[in-house]
Amino acid sequence: MTDSQRNPLAARAADPDSTERWSAALALAKVPGEESEDLLVGLLKDEDYRVRERAVASLGLRFNSRVASACAVALADDGNAGHRAAGLILLAKGGEAGRAILLGALQHPSADVRISAATALPGPSPRAETVSAIEAAVRREGDPNARASLILALGRTGRREAISPLLAVLEEGNLWLQVHALEALGSIGDPEIAPRLLPLLGNDSLRQGTLHALARLRSAIAAEPLVRRAAGGELDPFLLAAARAALEAAPASTIASLRPLWPDARSRLLALLEDADGDGSGRTDAAHLMALLDVPGAALAIVTHGPFRDGYTALRSLGRSRAEEALLAVLQLADPEPALELLGALRGGPDAPTLLPLLVHPSPTVKAAVLSCVPAGLVRVSDLIDVLAEDDPETSLAAALALASDETGAPLDQLRTRRRALLDRAGGPDGPGRTAALTALSSADGTDVDAAIRGALVSADPSVREAAVLAGSMGRRLGEHEIVARLSDESPTVRAAALRGLALRANRGDVPAGVTWRDGLVFLVDEAAAAAAAGAAVIALGGPERPRLVEEMLAQEPSVRVAALEEIERTGDAEAARSAVAAIGHEDVETACAAVRALAVADAETAAEALPQALADERPEVRSAAAETVARRPESERGTAITAAVGEALVSEGDRHVLRSLLLAVAEIGTEATVEPLTLVLAQEAVPDEAEGAAEALALRHPDACQAAWTTAPARAERRWARALSTASRRRSRAPRPS
């Protein structure tokens, strides 16, 4: 009997069809034992790259000494570059064991092998010893390409210990190695290196590399020499990028002191902006420099000559004192984009009220955005009524919600005027304004409101009827029979609204008399909007039968399935959440995500088992949903298993979107055990804002552990920890003391 006959997976791994071999590599990941390991090792040299990738992923889950040995063999396979690359990837992910083999390979007689090993180094969490080992290899290496690869590896360690040997390379005078050393120093990102690099700007061969490194260092120290060079006429894209990075890092006082050094900055930068055929990134950096240097007329120049590579983002670099100038500039244009950029920059901040003048902008998009972000009390009631009367689909809802806001602090007579305006419009002719007024009135009480809602139920416009049903479902404005009657409305959106209304009441514990989950069944085959609402209603009305109903909903159409699973969290039913666990592995991503989100209300045991699995799911959407759900769990029930899983996920996550979700979770639930994995993230060159937020949150909760991390972290992480610790310390000192 052959191996293939004994083991069907072995047969598939040897199948001529690469899809079969790929499937075998996937299945073998779940089969323990040396036999399956050997099959996977064999697939590392497969001719199809997808099979090799799959084998690498499967072996990555069980990296051990046998796998490490197989990788060492792959590393020296001169005849199969794919095999070698697969081994390298595994070794790079293989922690200390993988790194030891890679460091050993730096002494291999073949320069190709040494270069491959250097390319995969330093691997995760490099320590000072790793730097020493690579530095030693740099010293003894005779091949210039291998040496250059090792220099770059030193940069990737991100550690300060690597700075000194890299600076030594700069002194050597070998241009090839100097360029690589500059690249590596940029990777380490320690701004304090900048003074050592600035003299190299005089060397024409190294100028570009030096400017590129300076742009990555983001050192305020470089701001003055770079501005002087710009003033001297050096306005190429490399210099502009480096100057912008330096000014972005510099405090306002430094920038103010630099302005006199470049008296003709306005005309020089404006000329670059006016050259529509000029280099795109250079023009973009020039626009930011205008704003950063607070050049008079910068706002108008940016608005007039934009959009740039990043749209009108340069407006965000303007100082607060230029807010009025920016407002006037964006009002010069009927184009909404610059105004929206300004709105985006100031939205939610203390300066949001200054955006009020934008209400006269001709674009309804801008008007709606202003009404959504300026405190409602600041907008004149007559203006709001005018906007509502325009009946524009873009602005009506924003105006109506502003009229209904309870944060206006307005006197009673003005509140009456606001309410009257909404009631008038809710009882007026059909149109976006009426729909909006009804929606806004859903948060108001009174018989006049009830009458307006009832009147709208018989409107000819389905949008108006839908808004009326939803508004009437709040409180007890409409009786059950009135909501149920809308289930036979001719419009699916109105039927959906009625079903949502019933679900809402059930979730409030106000189960409509005579209505059961069975009433929703007939709508499961309705049009998409109504069917999804029916799925949610069945779960909301399910009561003790809910866990069984959840299982049955999994057999429905995707939109129904997802809506039903999402309803579980609103019901708060832990048993139903447990029933949803099986759907986490569902092939439909949205279904899987909805099942994960239901875990927010699952019992501690179910969550501790299912969430770590979801955090390790192959699909980034599912991992992201799991990270969000972790943070929504009750604080007392998060558990160490979940926290540890978040830490592990943080280290291995390759998708930046998921990483962001994980960092947000760390900010909420991170413990001392999360400090080390977070340090690895903070050591990277480009980290999401959320990483610094997570660091601040941890520094606030676990200052000692974060201080310890700070003292041993790589250069970039060290700086970021320092900032986080300092911010946390300031916050602690500001916090009120218990009396």
């Binding site: 990043d310 010069q332 244009l333 009927a334 184009d335 929206l340 920059a345 939205r347 939610g348 001709p362 998009t365 709606a368 955005a369 959504s372 972000c373 300026v374 405190p375 873009e394 809802l397 924003a398 919600l401 209904a404 806001s405 309870d406 944060e407 976006p432 929606t439 859903s442 948060s443 479902s473 709040m474 959106t493 679900a503 809402l504 979730n507 998409a528 909007a529 069917a531 999804a532 809506a563 609103r570 708060g572 989100r597 927010a600 959407e621 992201s624 949903a625 990270a627 969000e628 943070a631 929504r632 979107h657 962001r660 947000l664 979770a665 909420e668 804002d689 959320e690 937020g693 601040e696």
Partner: protein, 293 residues
């Protein structure tokens, strides 16, 4: 920057706290990705990460009305693309920045070479059917009408110009034919004087005779049927670059199927790469290149 608060699902659809406050709701990163994915699947349109604050500003009222950005997503997911609510999402996501005569080379190729050739092919009573696919706020479609008037083709010959765009708001604005100075930044003073009238607020209104041959409709290119009214010329400039690879291929197929025999497609410079694999033939004109069926 401090930690961004996590998106939280409200406990129920109960009286939405969001409705009675004007504190801006936040579009969490993870929820934004759901919007990105929804738009990509439905329209092929790729929303850049930078657009997050744009969606946050523009959909603030709708999100407040739904309870949160996540709940708004839940509703949008089950809405047809043609619904008013989905239209609001499209309005929020699609950038309509353009101007009249943005690409003079292409306009010259159209008015001096392609349009005369197609009119000749159509005979004396033939109709020149033109489609500006992804017309934003109508500058390109109206610009074609202007150059056809300048060349003396209009009003004598029968010309129909259709402009379509994903965003209903863009189409509403296009129908007004009123523009600000930014939209006319590449328009010569002579053309401004000749073809536009002053409108309120320092704006410019296109003369009615020039607007007459142009019609606008809001719809997605992916929703276009493979069979339908055919066109002599289709302009689809700087649209494909915003679409996913899969959607680009599909749109090229649709556009090609909607050309009259011998008709032309004019693409943007970066769009042209996507057409390389299509059944169309590249034709060089004095001022631009086009693809012919």
């Amino acid at each position: 920057m401090g930690p961004r608060p996590l998106h939280r699902l409200p406990p129920a659809l109960s009286r939405p706290e969001a409705l009675v406050t004007t504190r801006p709701l936040e579009l969490a990163e993870t929820v934004f990705r759901l919007y990105q994915d929804l738009l990509r699947r439905r329209t092929g349109f790729l929303v850049a990460d930078l657009q997050r604050s744009r969606l946050e500003s523009r959909l603030g009222a709708e999100a407040r009305s739904a309870g949160s950005f996540y709940q708004l997503y839940g509703r949008l997911r089950n809405e047809p693309t043609s619904s008013p609510l989905f239209g609001r999402l499209l309005d929020a996501a699609v950038n309509g920045e353009t101007c009249f005569f943005r690409d003079p080379a292409s306009i010259r190729a159209f008015s001096e070479e392609i349009a005369p050739e197609r009119l000749l092919a159509g005979g004396q009573d033939g109709v020149l059917d033109v489609w500006s696919a992804g017309c934003a706020t109508g500058e390109e479609a109206y610009g074609l009408s202007i150059v056809l008037h300048e060349r003396g083709i209009l009003p004598g010959r029968k010309v129909r110009i259709l402009g379509t765009d994903l965003s209903p708001a863009h189409v509403r604005r296009a129908r007004t034919a009123i523009y600000g100075p930014q939209a006319l930044r590449a328009t010569s003073p002579e053309r401004r004087r000749e073809h536009f009238e002053a409108a309120e607020g320092g704006l410019f209104r296109l003369k009615a005779s020039l607007a007459a041959p142009v019609l606008f409709e809001a719809r997605s290119l992916l929703d276009e049927p493979m069979t339908g009214p055919a066109f002599d010329v289709i302009l689809c400039r700087n649209v494909l670059i915003y679409l996913s690879e899969e959607a680009r291929v599909r749109v090229i197929e649709i556009l090609a199927s909607r050309l009259k025999p011998g008709g032309y497609i004019l693409l943007g410079a970066s769009d042209a790469l996507a057409a390389a694999a299509s059944p169309l033939t590249l034709v060089r004109f004095s001022h631009d290149v086009a693809y012919r069926r």
